[in-house]
Amino acid sequence: MTDVYRLISQTQAEYARTIDNDKLEAWPDFFIDACTYRITSAQSHADGLEGGVVFCASKGMLTDRISALREANIFERHSYRHILGAPCILSENGDRVESETAFIVARIMRTGETAVFATGKYLDTYRVGGGKALIENRLVVCDSNRVDTLLVIPL
């Protein structure tokens, strides 16, 4: 338990640090190849809706999110600051661990304007082994179903 908790905490801290430091090309490496990553809202989640604002069904789709962000998409320059709560381990089954972690993400625009962009929780399945915890499934449940302007940097 302690080791799992430490591994997941370390992965999540590195995950947030990677995004906030604009090392986005390394972001997919927090996931296993056969992963899912989906961003939804608490309302859509409660309604049982299958879709996502972002819907990735493979690590390749994560990579494509970043290459599109770098090469194709147009948006005003901004960055995030993730503040994560402590992970709550929900279940352990062999190397598969489910956890839930709260987050707040502030968005800092190029103009300096800083505001809370999203709050919510990560509902995760981790694969733990070899001294690492990698994400198998990450469902990002935003508390609000309102997204200001656009969402391009991953949560």
């Binding site: 604002v53 972002v54 690590k59 599109a68 194709a72 147009i74």
Partner: protein
């Protein structure tokens, strides 16, 4: 126009004058002013126009309801015990509080205002008043007070292929006449005879006036310039034809891309699609793996109905967009992304993956969330300067070229006639 003056007390002369130049000039003050916003609420949203409310499929059973709106007017859409859909203003007849405080729900038998307990049936009729007869013979409403004189304002409803529209005006023409014979079959093409399943709902908060977003929807000129996803990843090499269709009144439109089937079956083109000179390739091209859904080869159809409804088909990704003005410089863009109950699991997965193209994080639509704000900020200090809309000429007519701003001019044509500007 005199009739507008009497209608809402806001003289067009106070808002205008509109600059010269016909449909090719749009003054920036129209995106900025509180008085314009207020006049739009009266003349457009409470005036003789249809506003999209929700999908029929979102209120499938008796007692199902959704809170929605017509402009600033909050509206409840509910299916009653007979299976009929009703809509009425979400405002208590007593002191004006919202009657319904939930976005949606089911199994509703009636609605009761939380403030003083005035209650309403599913047809939107006032049926009860707490302590109507007072307590112990004291207080209560006057004997002459009649419930029937105090029902909430009814919303006239019409549904078309599962889309429920509402209007607050008796003068609004029948829905299909209003949308027009050019546009109605293109709604049918996507939705007729099908039962939608909602895949996701999300609201994108736009930092701009609602009309800047509507202009963007109608702007077939910007697509290949602002949205670089397809070109960057070399995903658009087949030959396309297409065009724009502008309704008679101007404010409704279709823009579409159609596979040039003669070219598509040419092996050279098939080979060209595989060969990419771009150094950028999708790591997982299953994002765009589609399935055959229409025989007409139309891969993209953006359709709008004046003032604020959008139906979108991009490959197999289908969504309705409900545009709701909030402030002169803020707009809610409500996305409802749908599939159909006839989808196979594989088809459903295609739609879920292709939904990455659209919405606030959409590969080809996220830019539309910020570009309106760039205009709003860019023009802040120059209310009397004008936008220039001459691409494709000066008229608001259908064309086979999408390098045109004809649909935008069409919007301004209907906007100005509705607003008396």
């Amino acid at each position: 126009m005199a009739q507008d003056n009497s209608m809402d007390g806001l003289a067009a002369a106070e808002i205008g004058p509109w600059p010269a130049g016909g449909l090719t000039r749009v003054p920036y003050w129209v995106f900025q002013r509180e008085d314009v916003y207020a006049a739009e609420q009266q003349r457009i949203f409470q005036g003789p126009n249809w506003s999209y409310l929700c999908l029929d499929a979102e209120v499938p059973n008796p007692g199902d309801f959704r809170a929605t709106s017509i402009g600033d007017t909050p509206v409840i859409v509910v299916r009653d015990g007979t299976g009929k859909i009703n809509a009425f203003e979400n405002r208590c007849s007593h002191r004006g509080a919202l009657i319904c405080l939930e976005e949606h729900g089911k199994g509703q038998r009636d609605f009761q205002c939380v403030y003083h307990g005035w209650s309403y049936d599913l047809a939107g009729k006032l049926t009860g008043i707490a302590f109507k007869n007072g307590v112990k013979g004291q207080g209560g409403m006057p004997k002459a007070f009649k419930l029937d004189d105090h029902h909430p304002r009814q919303v006239r409803l019409e549904a078309l292929h599962g889309l429920v529209f509402g209007t607050l005006s008796d003068a609004t023409p029948p829905l299909t006449d209003y949308i027009g014979p050019e546009i109605v079959p293109r709604i049918a093409r996507v939705l007729a005879g099908k039962r939608p399943v909602v895949l996701n709902r999300v609201t994108q908060v736009l930092p701009n006036n609602w009309k800047l977003y509507i202009e963007n929807v109608k702007d077939s000129y910007h697509a290949s310039i602002l949205h670089l996803f397809f070109t960057t990843f070399q995903l658009n090499q087949l030959s396309y034809k297409g065009g724009i269709v502008v309704s008679e009144a101007g404010g409704s439109h279709i823009s579409y891309n159609q596979l040039d089937t003669k070219a598509a079956i040419n092996k050279d083109y098939a080979a060209q699609q595989l060969r990419s000179d771009s150094k950028y390739k999708l790591a997982d091209p299953s994002l765009l793996a589609g399935f055959h859904e229409w025989d007409d080869g139309i891969t993209l159809q953006i359709l709008s109905v004046f003032p604020t409804f959008v139906l979108q088909q991009i490959q197999n990704s289908i969504a309705v967009r409900r545009v709701v003005p909030r402030k002169p410089d803020e707009t809610d863009l409500n996305w409802t992304i749908i599939g159909f109950d006839s989808d196979t699991p594989e088809q459903r997965m295609v739609r879920l993956k292709q939904a990455n193209l659209i919405g606030p994080a959409g590969f080809i639509s996220m830019e539309d969330g910020c570009v309106g704000g760039f205009v709003q900020r860019g023009v802040k200090s120059v209310p009397d300067a004008n936008a220039v809309l001459e691409m494709g000429g000066h008229e608001a007519v259908s064309s086979e070229s999408r390098v045109s701003e004809a649909s935008i001019r069409g919007f301004w044509k209907q906007y100005r006639s509705t607003m008396g500007l």
